[in-house]
């Protein structure tokens, strides 16, 4: 897919995010908008074996949305990729809907792990990568974690294990939008030299200056693996990216746009 087409998919996914959260009157638009390029790049360009008609193909690359609250971005991406139709957006966060508040492997096609309890997704991804090595499955495992999520000790337990087991079939994408629920990372729990910390845990690290620039994201995701080391990609992103009044605003972490705001957002996200 051409760069322009991928950017168009991102725009449509962003519209999906706005529409979904507006309809549900709830959800997490801010952190969904920040990781949209990463998800679209993975599902439309990077991951092998992605097939809506065979979403359990054992050789497929795996994806775990460790920051499970960014589910709207994943649902938008899966919908654009053909795993289900946009009519499912009506059931987002609703009784019997396949699009639960957080990704549910039992309900939604194309999902590889149920996430939402922060810190767990990266650990599950480590297990998938280890299991793939054990069974000789050539698949690659990708996971997106949040910066706020990295307050969780589990992220570090998982990272230690990823390096110990030399999981070069694992890529952890760090959505560095700098904000979490109660404020900026620095207001809530300083991450300090977060890159240095993860490097010390044994990751081969790639830093992406603009994690909302599709070309930069693609370049990082296509960089050759470093033998014997798990990969971490730091994406410097903007929370609420693409919707002017949400950009860089902590308050849009877990708040749905009203109808008026939705109309404005969709106008901004027109082709």
């Amino acid at each position: 897919m051409e760069l322009k087409e991928l950017q168009d998919v991102c725009r449509r996914v962003r519209r999906d995010i706005v529409i979904m959260t507006n309809k549900a009157g709830a959800g997490h638009p801010g952190g969904s908008l920040s990781c949209t390029e990463a998800l679209v790049a993975l599902y439309f360009d990077v991951m092998r074996g992605v097939d809506p008609k065979d979403d359990k193909n054992p050789a497929r690359d795996r994806f775990v949305l460790s920051k499970g609250h960014a589910a709207p971005a994943l649902y938008g991406t899966l919908c654009e990729r053909g795993f289900f139709g946009p009519e499912e957006f009506d059931g987002f966060r609703q009784l019997h809907g396949i699009l639960q508040g957080h990704p549910d492997v039992k309900k939604c096609p194309g999902i590889d792990a149920s996430t939402g309890s922060l810190g767990q997704g990266i650990s599950i991804a480590v297990g998938m990568a280890l299991g793939a090595k054990h069974t000789g499955n050539p698949c690659h495992v990708y996971t997106v974690i949040g910066d706020g999520e990295s307050d969780e000790g589990m992220v570090w337990e998982a990272s230690m294990a990823a390096a110990h087991y030399k999981l070069d079939n694992l890529t952890v994408i760090f959505d560095y939008n700098g904000m979490q629920i109660d404020g900026t990372n620095d207001q809530v729990m300083s991450l300090g030299d977060i890159r240095g910390k993860f490097a010390a845990f044994g990751y081969d690290i790639i830093e992406v200056k603009d994690g909302n620039d599709m070309q930069q994201v693609l370049d990082a995701l296509h960089a050759p693996a470093c033998p014997g080391k798990p990969r971490m990609i730091f994406l410097h992103t903007l929370k609420g990216k693409g919707v002017s009044f949400m950009e860089g605003q902590v308050g849009w972490h877990g708040k749905a746009p009203n109808n008026e705001q939705t109309a404005q957002a969709l106008k901004e996200l027109e082709a």
Binding site: D104, S114, Q120, G127, M128, G131
Partner: protein, 316 residues
């Protein structure tokens, strides 16, 4: 009427945790999908028995139980059958991972958690799980085994490997008598002794002590039936009802808190189903402490003598 089980002592003793390690090696030889994860306790959980024969299928996770459980969750999605092994007291430590990482998606992960109950002994209350069954019972889709001896431990491990979904196996450190292998069916209780005056429902290594209690009760002129449940969930509700109706007096005995364990599971079955007396014998809303296993059983009212006393008093 359900059939009486023929309980034949072999004269040997071993702990169910040692049996767990041996069972993994045996079942692992039959099923190459089985992998074993441990959190730096292979010498204690006895997964070293598996590691010795299948080193390439053994994964140490370091002292990080939470990560072990979710790694197992991830490995299960690759078609493997991971057995996570640690102390039962750490079930609380990795509970969110067992809940959200494994049970919520109903992944095929097994938990062989050892050193349960006060008979762990000298390590004391910080390490004696009295609440693990309560924690596991409330998780939808979880199967729970509490084997009573070494042979039953093998049967539980084997059955766990054949169940598609999460299974918790609770084992103990204290050696207990080994009986000849008896017929095993998931979800079915075993009638160990028939009796007409009252029934004792028990699980795990309390089988040894309740058996002795039955003999002590006989001397007092009380004819007690004894039923052992290797499967706590799904519980053999039919059998729980059958012997309650037959005897009218129910006692549950478990090396676990009287809150949330076998006793409460039986109570939930019996409530509103007839007129029975009902008494739970177990650890009564307090923590364990250091001591010799026999002294601890006495202290917590779980020795054969104390069990018989409670039941005799309850029958008056």
């Amino acid at each position: 009427m359900s059939k009486l089980v023929n309980l034949v002592p072999t004269g040997e003793k071993d702990s169910t945790r040692v049996a767990y390690g041996k069972a993994l090696a045996r079942v692992g030889a039959e099923n190459e999908k089985i992998v074993v994860l441990d959190a730096d306790l292979a010498q204690a959980t006895m997964t070293k028995e598996f590691k010795a024969v299948f080193p390439e299928r053994f994964y140490d996770c370091g002292i990080a139980e939470a990560n072990m459980v979710d790694m197992a969750a991830g490995m299960s999605t690759m078609g493997l059958i991971p057995f996570c092994s640690t102390f039962a007291v750490f079930a609380g430590r990795c509970y969110d991972q067992i809940r959200n990482g494994v049970c919520y998606p109903h992944f095929n992960v097994k938990f062989g958690f050892s050193h349960a109950g006060v008979t762990l002994g000298e390590d004391g209350g910080s390490h004696q799980a009295i609440e693990d069954l309560a924690l596991m019972r409330v998780l939808p889709g979880m199967t729970i085994f509490v084997p009573s001896d070494a042979n039953e431990t093998y049967q539980c491990v084997k059955a766990a490997s054949e169940i598609d979904g999460p299974v918790f196996i609770r084992t103990a450190r204290l050696p207990s008598p080994i009986y000849e292998e008896r017929p095993f069916e998931v979800g079915k209780g075993q009638i160990i002794r028939d009796g007409k005056d009252c029934v004792i429902y028990t699980c795990g290594i309390m089988l040894e002590h309740t058996l002795k209690a039955v003999d002590l009760l006989k001397e007092k002129g009380i004819d007690a039936a004894l039923v052992s449940f290797h499967t706590i969930k799904p519980l053999d509700e039919e059998l729980v009802l059958e012997y309650a109706a037959k005897t009218g007096h129910v006692f549950t005995v478990e090396e676990h808190s009287t809150i949330g364990g076998l006793g409460d599971a039986c109570a939930a079955v019996l409530c509103g189903k007839g007129a029975f007396t009902f008494e739970k014998i177990g650890i009564e809303d307090r923590f364990g402490q250091s001591g010799k296993p026999a002294a601890l059983l006495e202290e917590y009212g779980l020795s054969a003598g104390k069990i018989a006393e409670r039941i005799a008093a309850g029958m008056k």
